[in-house]
Symmetry: C2
Subunit: 351 residues, 2 copies
């Protein structure tokens, strides 16, 4: 059933698992979707088999390799590329963007905007100025004003299998929330709204840290009691660092916060959770990352948060412990022993 809800095509940038899932949802409801793929070779291959990231493409999706068509033909654009490629993509797209464009991204990582070869020290620390969310990158690199993001418990494989789910569209502009809802809402995909754009972006980014940790607990076979304890502590850590970086506590208690956190910490379908599980099984982070098809954003985020927490004097015992594991300074077993000995204190003090 194709509704004529928009006369222009909708743009999706990036045909990874989440980008493809969102493109398919959009295609179900809307006439034409342009799905941009970065390399011509990959675009040809996807077009040939009409499949990307294991998902069959809806007939309303046109695979393209020309970024100018996204800007020139679409009013509403969903960028869904890894954080490491986001700014570069925006710089290429920017000449084709105008203030009337609306961009709603689904990227759950930070842009690391520090000068090359920047090594933070106590006198020259990493600050929020060096770190950007994707909505900030969009605004820095283009004339687009009306930006938003998607975040929530959205394991792409389940969405592709047409299982029910919900997401949050966050934007300072009600118009963006309403358009996101109109384009994406189906009878199995609920869309909530939030005006705390930075808070909701931070939820999606920070929860990946906790997912890596939860994966290590699963890998050690410590059980649901331990994992739930870990997630509870993780939620508190997310709120503390999230507030230091400009989000409000409320965001973390909703669907994009605790909801996404639970899904990501409960499923082998989560890349970050899988990284943790494999770390617990004795693989090194280099081995794991080499073998993964898509990026696990949590690894980069752990490194960034470890540095930022020093600047903002925020305690992040989980991120710090995972940092040590990633850099070979602590074993997964010792890390959990350490967390179980962590001083007794009431951790819910953010309200």
């Amino acid at each position: 059933m194709v509704s004529k809800s928009t006369s222009k095509p909708i743009g999706v940038i990036g045909a990874g698992s989440f980008g493809t899932a969102i493109a398919n949802i959009l295609a179900e409801k809307n006439q034409q979707i342009l799905l941009y793929v970065r390399t011509a070779e990959k675009a040809l291959q996807i077009e040939k088999i009409r499949e990307s990231a294991g998902q069959t493409l809806h007939e309303n999706i046109e695979i393209i390799n020309d970024l100018s068509r996204i800007g020139n033909e679409c009013d509403v654009i969903f960028p869904m590329v890894p954080s490491a490629n986001f700014r570069e993509m925006m710089r290429s797209l920017s000449p084709f963007l105008r203030p009337y464009h609306i961009m709603i991204h689904g990227t759950k990582g930070f842009d690391y905007n520090a000068p090359e070869k920047f090594h933070p020290t106590p006198t020259n620390p990493l600050t929020r100025e060096h770190i950007r969310t994707m909505s900030e990158v969009i605004q820095e690199e283009s004339s687009v004003v009306r930006v938003g993001c998607l975040a929530g418990p959205n394991l792409a494989r389940e969405i592709a299998e047409k299982k029910p789910a919900a997401t949050v569209v966050a934007s300072q502009f009600d118009e963006v929330i309403k358009i996101g809802q109109k384009l994406l809402r189906t009878d199995r995909f609920l869309i909530y709204g939030s005006t705390d754009l930075i808070g909701i972006e931070l939820c999606g980014i920070l929860k990946n840290i906790i997912a890596v940790g939860a994966g290590t607990i699963a890998g050690l076979g410590l059980g649901e009691n331990s994992k739930s304890l870990f997630i509870s502590r993780g939620l508190v850590e997310m709120v503390h660092i999230g507030k230091a970086l400009g989000g409000n506590a409320e965001a973390f208690l909703g669907l994009a916060g605790v909801g996404d956190l639970i899904a990501t910490c409960s499923s082998e379908l989560s890349r970050n959770f899988t990284v943790g599980r494999r770390l617990a099984n004795g693989e090194t982070i280099d081995e794991i990352m080499e073998s993964m098809e898509e990026v696990a954003e949590g690894i980069k985020t752990i490194n960034i948060i470890q540095d930022l927490s020093k600047t903002y004097k925020t305690r992040v015992p989980i991120a710090e412990t995972l940092y040590k594991i990633l850099h070979g300074d602590m074993t997964v077993e010792d890390a959990h022993g350490y967390l179980m000995k962590f001083p007794f204190r009431a951790e819910i003090d953010f309200m």
Copy 2:
């Protein structure tokens, strides 16, 4: 390693799965535990095989069938019996209790103190006066002043398997929290403290409603996205009804709230989750309850909350929907269709 942390034995009332697990933890650290079992026959049987609820008993545990010994010999008592038997047990125990006794219970259900044959109507509604938490029952039925409760992600089987876990001891008395911590803390069992006794009791009670619902989602095979959405909404519903019944929002965001909620919604080891899963598979509630060895507190709680929500004009779409399922007025499939169509609104508005 037996420490002489107390010269008197510690009492545990009830040898169900959680009572036995707590008795074993106490026995590891303390010289003597009196574990009360209600019937002489059952006590003999447990004593004979030195095993209860599938758990081998620590050698420091003495099985008894004489409630007077609990009162006369113990200063600190852990009542761990189903809510339906709690008041009756307290009435039998009360003659042996004095104001110096400390009671920390682990029961996660309401006492239903309405007159027999009471049928709530709009003009004669069920109120908070008819509903008691176990700490309130203790205070009503005895001279004990220093009461507390245990709540958190504490699947008994995992504790019995010596997997790490944490719990919350809640009491208005710091002394009770400190004693609970001293008696229970091991290197694999962390004890947090809270002074919001009613809030923490409500966490343990209300989360069982959501666990039944999460079980239905698992039974329908709807996936982690759906379950996480459901848990997020459930958390909000818990906060709303919990505040109406005298708890503070903070409790629900900590280990005994969201932590216990996650564990209970993630494991076949949870009785309430299992009830939901079996409902989704087409069994009736009568069939399910008949076949269970221990009570699933969530069923009684759903009925109570459905009535209380009318009195306090609090929206409880999840409890209401489960109530309809339990009473044959809605199928599990229709219920989830209904919840997915629920009006769009930001549900995080309790802070």
